[in-house]
């Protein structure tokens, strides 16, 4: 179980000489499906990796791509968007808008060299606690394998010279 041997959710925890990296993942869950699945996983006492931090929105349609970029810009190594299955949206079509934005955003991030697995969209219904647990663990594992998303720090260390 991935969370069994974790000792911290800090960005990088040192175990002896070997640095073990624990990704920080920000999740945006819709209030009606995925957030409830998370609650159900809780009431079912399922255990999963502690890397995820949840931001609750009413609908996956509320997830502004700016939120995703802001999370990455502030040190998230991965971002997960969770919504209702197609056709199940509590607001009829919000999840389709989320899907369309996600497809384009993913492509754009790819252009900027950010790995596929760092941004994920999952349809998890209120009853799919098991799927929810799997996604939490799977994503934590995948992003852990990618290592930290080291975007260049806003300010470089100066003075810096042309490398020749």
């Amino acid at each position: 179980m991935p969370d069994a041997n974790l000792n911290s959710s800090q960005a990088v925890a040192y175990v002896g000489e070997q640095p073990t990296f624990e990704p920080r993942i920000v999740a945006f869950f819709c209030n009606w499906c995925t957030y409830l699945a998370a609650d159900l996983a809780g009431t079912s006492r399922m255990k999963y990796a502690p890397n995820m931090r949840v931001v609750r929105v009413m609908c996956s349609g509320r997830v502004d791509p700016q939120f995703v970029l802001d999370a990455f810009a502030h040190g998230a190594d991965g971002v997960l968007i969770g919504g209702c299955h197609p056709g199940d949206c509590h607001y009829q079509e919000g999840n389709y808008k989320a899907l369309r934005r996600f497809r384009l955003l993913k492509r754009m991030l790819g252009q900027m060299g950010i790995e596929e697995a760092r941004l994920r969209l999952e349809w998890i219904s209120a009853s799919e606690a098991e799927k929810f647990r799997w996604v939490m663990n799977d994503m934590a594992e995948q992003v852990r394998a990618l290592g930290p998303l080291r975007l260049l720090p806003a300010k470089e260390v100066f003075p810096e010279e042309v490398a020749v």
Partner: protein
């Protein structure tokens, strides 16, 4: 000192000079300005010896209009100096405001840029792979060049900026209004972009024709279609940045029958122009099935270059990941 005419300076960093041309394009109004203020810096008559700039008392210049982004050590030095010398520092034009088109260089790392210019170029003969160097030593002399930073930065990422004048370049009208605002004495809150805070659609000549039920099947590239000179460009399937771009320019590109490319940046309520246009356009797609969606989106060949044409360095991510120093590999 309030007796004398307010000192105004224009300076350029990494820019094309178009912003300077705008000053010239004030045309007759330019003479009014010369009458009203005392232009102490002017790119065609500029001495940039640090000593001279320092000779001016700190804050003795009322306003410096600095255009161009920051890419070299020298530009950063000048930005810092002028900041100190000026009461008000204005980021003038897209490059200093947002990073500008040269900011797209942030998608590539420095080394590959130098390579493509000095080595890969088919017309360049450079077998030894000579590159410009910081200090060149030749029979006893040392000739120095300014350092070339890894990324392009906006002015406000280097020094504290008071106001922004948007546009690539700002229209003479926007510049004139900005100058009047400063001289009027009713200074807006610090950090204000001296232009209207609504999106371009507000002032677009084609606004009324835009349908209320816009739904996008796929996008057209300007070269693929004959462009109707009256209809809303988005409604014609052309990717127009107008809805996500600050107005004030009076839509000259649309009047030239081409889509807005977003040079004035986002409104004050938006942190990332690219993310916002992405969000709005994607939401308006017709298709619901992933393959169809991808197919439709494939008709935007260059999302980053299109959505961040002028604003990559000021965007939330600021640059591609290619700049990352070596990552810590997977643990185990």
């Amino acid at each position: 000192m309030t007796a004398e005419k307010p000192k105004v300076a224009f300076y350029w960093c990494a820019s094309c000079g178009g912003c300077e041309e705008t000053v010239v394009d004030l045309a007759e109004a330019f003479l009014d300005i010369v009458a009203a203020v005392d232009i102490v810096f002017w790119p065609v008559a500029l001495d940039s010896k640090r000593k001279d700039v320092e000779a001016i008392a700190d804050g003795a210049i009322l306003a410096t209009f600095l255009n161009g982004a920051i890419r070299t050590t020298e530009q950063e030095e000048m930005a810092c100096l002028l900041r100190r010398k000026s009461k008000l520092l204005l980021a003038f034009g897209s490059c200093s405001h947002l990073g500008g088109i040269p900011g797209l260089a942030n998608l590539f790392d420095r080394e590959s840029i130098l390579d493509s210019v000095y080595c890969e170029s088919p017309s360049t003969v450079n077998a030894e792979g000579v590159l410009p160097v910081l200090r060149h030593k030749a029979n006893g002399h040392t000739v120095e060049l300014p350092g070339f930073y890894r990324t392009v930065r906006t002015l406000s990422q280097v020094v504290d900026v008071d106001y922004y004048v948007p546009g690539c370049p700002p229209t003479p009208r926007v510049l004139r209004t900005a100058l009047l605002t400063l001289l009027s004495g009713e200074l807006p809150p610090k950090g204000t972009v001296l232009a209207p805070d609504h999106a371009l659609c507000e002032e677009c000549p084609r606004k009324d024709g835009k349908p209320e039920n816009l739904s996008i099947g796929q996008f057209k590239r300007p070269y693929e279609v004959l462009i109707d000179e009256e209809k809303c460009l988005l409604a014609q399937g052309l990717l127009c940045m107008g809805p996500a771009t600050r107005g004030g320019c009076e839509a000259p590109c649309v009047q030239g029958n081409m889509p807005c490319t977003g040079c004035c940046g986002p409104t004050s309520r938006v942190r990332d122009q690219g993310a916002k246009i992405l969000s709005s356009l994607a939401s308006l797609l017709e298709s619901k099935e992933e393959p169809e969606i991808d197919h439709a989106l494939a008709t935007i060949p260059d999302p980053v270059g299109t959505f961040y044409r002028y604003s990559l360095p000021s965007s939330l991510l600021r640059q591609g990941k290619s700049h990352s120093s070596s990552n810590v590999g997977p643990a185990k």
